[in-house]
Amino acid sequence: MAIFISDATKVVIQGITGRDGSFHTRQMIGYGTRVVAGVTPGKGGQAFEGGDGIRIPIYNTVERAVTETEANASVIYVPPAHAAAAIMEAADAGIKLIVAITEGIPVLDMTRALAFVADRGARLIGPNCPGLISPGCGKLGIIPGGIVAKGPVGVVSRSGTLTYEVVSQLTAAGIGQTTCVGIGGDPLIGTNFVDCLKAFGADPHTKAVVLIGEIGGTDEQEAASYAGAHLKLPLVAFVAGRTAPPGRRMGHAGAIISGSSGTAEEKVKAFEDQGFRVADRPSDVVGLLRDALRDL
């Protein structure tokens, strides 16, 4: 039914009283997510109004939140200067699924935070990502609940709104999703394409995968190799940035062609070399996915 989250997922929101944190906490609750606690240092003991009379207790530390509420997942809306510390705090408190929405975290902060998360055996999604949503199960992050529907397709993407574009077309075409995961647009992220493909491959409800990549790095190339060798599901890819000039950062900190490496062309070719269909336009994804599912 879902990867990474389940009915047992109980969520603590780090930065719950901030502008983004408070807005999206209410959205998550509205979508049926079990938000059990919030954390804002110095506001411990207060309560957060989650809408419809729901009151979420606020704690000073994640550790306290976990002790009191048995939260096992965290969503982070903490400002960039403190977001890496917030990730480490969550992992230190024993949280095993950490979703970091924050954009603009210094990359050197992330080198430490990623090592810490790995040492603690936790999974980090993001940072600089929209999080994940599993229709009928809940959402951790900011993906709009209105554009998804329950169904057999796993979606994984480095971007936000481009994902929404593709997912809403899937939903409009009557193709629902198991889980949609935005892994984030930063150069250093916790969970990568391959991790998600492994999870989708192991999920009995996922029958096909849509992967949305972009320029920069080699995550898509590694995903193509992995999928070619191990993924037992049909996969349709789309890669954004065919027109992006080399050496320029395209919005996302990780979206940059370095020298001649990280281009959309090499990524498209990597998927095609493994026999996967690559959409030329976002609107081609639905058709290619139908073809792929028909081929089964």
Partner: protein, 378 residues
């Protein structure tokens, strides 16, 4: 943020790395004065955010202050890879016995800082990496322990065998790494790292890029920014919190989200057009950003049509619609505009736009096709 060589050299010097004397000049006369102070043969080097200065004639030896002046006169104002040279660095010419390369950057694959050294310095390291990878040694630094003394020594040993050079190089690498961390850099490069005929290891040319996201920790670095080097539109975009990259086409785009913005550019190309820019208004719902975005797009004379592509999520479509209306009430649009809006508060947005005389569609493909058509017709 990229720094100029002279700025990078100054930071490395402060970090305790031996860097030869030298000063920056913005007039031929100043270059002459510096050359006179330094004495002997000097090098006059164009200060631009671009590689290949030597080939472009931007680096010249001068045997006398007068020659330094005439070289500076020729180099200042020169254009190298679309960058106008506004300053030259004047440094003593060193007796070079050997040239090497040293750099620290963050490696995406290992997710760690990596120190790279090569005995082949003074040349393009990407070329070395491609053709003679064994000439480069990389060390992935565990951020939990930092650079350990034996690791710096081991890298130094890849470059030199003389004990004196070894310990000098190990010290320089250690300081380079510490500088990289404390500055919040994304690249700190010495190329070439030389051995002088007197057996001293020195950094001759340096390149530093700072992680924009880490600048808040070193507010002093903000004054190293050169407003003149940045296209005005990009500076305005940065100040407004937008991501903007100038392209060469005629369809000006305004999109929310980097991935969707790239996909929009790609779709313009797919339908036979050329994007005039990348522009991401980000995830916020601030009408002011929309106003700033429209100003930046319309300030580009090659833009023949303006395309909005908004997928409402956090971004509310009505906010964007209000921004469009506000901006066009201030300054009448002199070019056609195509608006695509869908998602959060889409219905409200369409009402707002229609009241102001605009039309808006829901299909990305349809909007892009129309924009390309208008750009061709305009």
């Amino acid at each position: 943020m990229d720094l100029y060589e002279y700025q990078a050299r100054e930071l490395l010097r402060k970090a305790g790395i031996p860097v030869p004397d030298g000063e920056v000049a913005d007039t031929p006369e100043a270059a002459q004065r510096i050359a006179r102070r330094l004495g002997g043969t000097v090098v006059v080097k164009a200060q631009v955010h671009a590689g290949g200065r030597g080939k472009a004639g931007g680096v010249k030896l001068a045997a006398s202050p007068e020659e330094a002046k005439s070289h500076a006169a020729r180099i200042l104002g020169m254009e190298i890879k679309q960058h106008v040279v506004r300053r030259v660095l004047v440094t003593p010419a060193e007796e070079i016995a050997a040239e090497a390369y040293a750099a620290v950057l963050v490696d995406r694959a290992t997710q760690r800082p990596v120190l790279m050294v090569s005995g082949e310095g003074g040349i393009d390291i990407e070329e070395v990496a491609r053709t003679r990878p064994q000439a480069i040694r990389r060390l992935s630094v565990d951020p939990r322990y930092g650079l350990l003394s034996h690791q710096a020594y081991g890298l130094a040993e890849f470059l030199y065998s003389d004990p004196g050079l070894l310990s000098q190089a190990a010290d320089i690498l250690t300081r380079l790494y510490e500088f990289f961390l404390s500055a919040g850099a994304s690249l700190a490069e010495i190329n070439p790292l030389i051995v002088t005929s007197a057996g001293e290891v020195k950094a001759i040319d340096a390149k530093v890029s700072l992680d924009d996201n880490a600048l808040f920790r070193n507010p002093d670095f903000e004054k190293l920014r050169d407003p003149a080097a940045e296209p005005e539109a990009e500076m305005r975009a940065r100040n407004a919190g937008l991501s903007y990259v100038k392209m060469t086409g005629s369809v000006g785009c305004c999109v929310n989200g980097a991935g969707l913005a790239m996909a929009t550019m790609d779709l313009i190309k797919y339908y036979g057009g050329e994007p005039a820019n990348f522009l991401d208004i980000g995830g916020s719902s601030n009408p002011d950003k929309v106003v700033a975005a429209l100003e930046i797009i319309t300030s580009d004379p090659s833009v023949r049509v303006i395309l909005f592509n908004i997928f409402g999520g956090i971004t509310r479509c009505d906010d964007v619609a209000n921004g469009i209306v506000e901006a066009t009430q201030r300054t009448k649009l002199d070019r056609p505009i195509v608006i695509r809006l869908t998602g959060t508060n889409e219905a409200e947005a369409i009402v707002i736009l229609e009241k102001a005389g605009f039309t808006a569609g829901r299909s990305m493909d349809a909007a892009v096709m129309k924009a390309v058509e208008l750009a061709g017709a305009a």
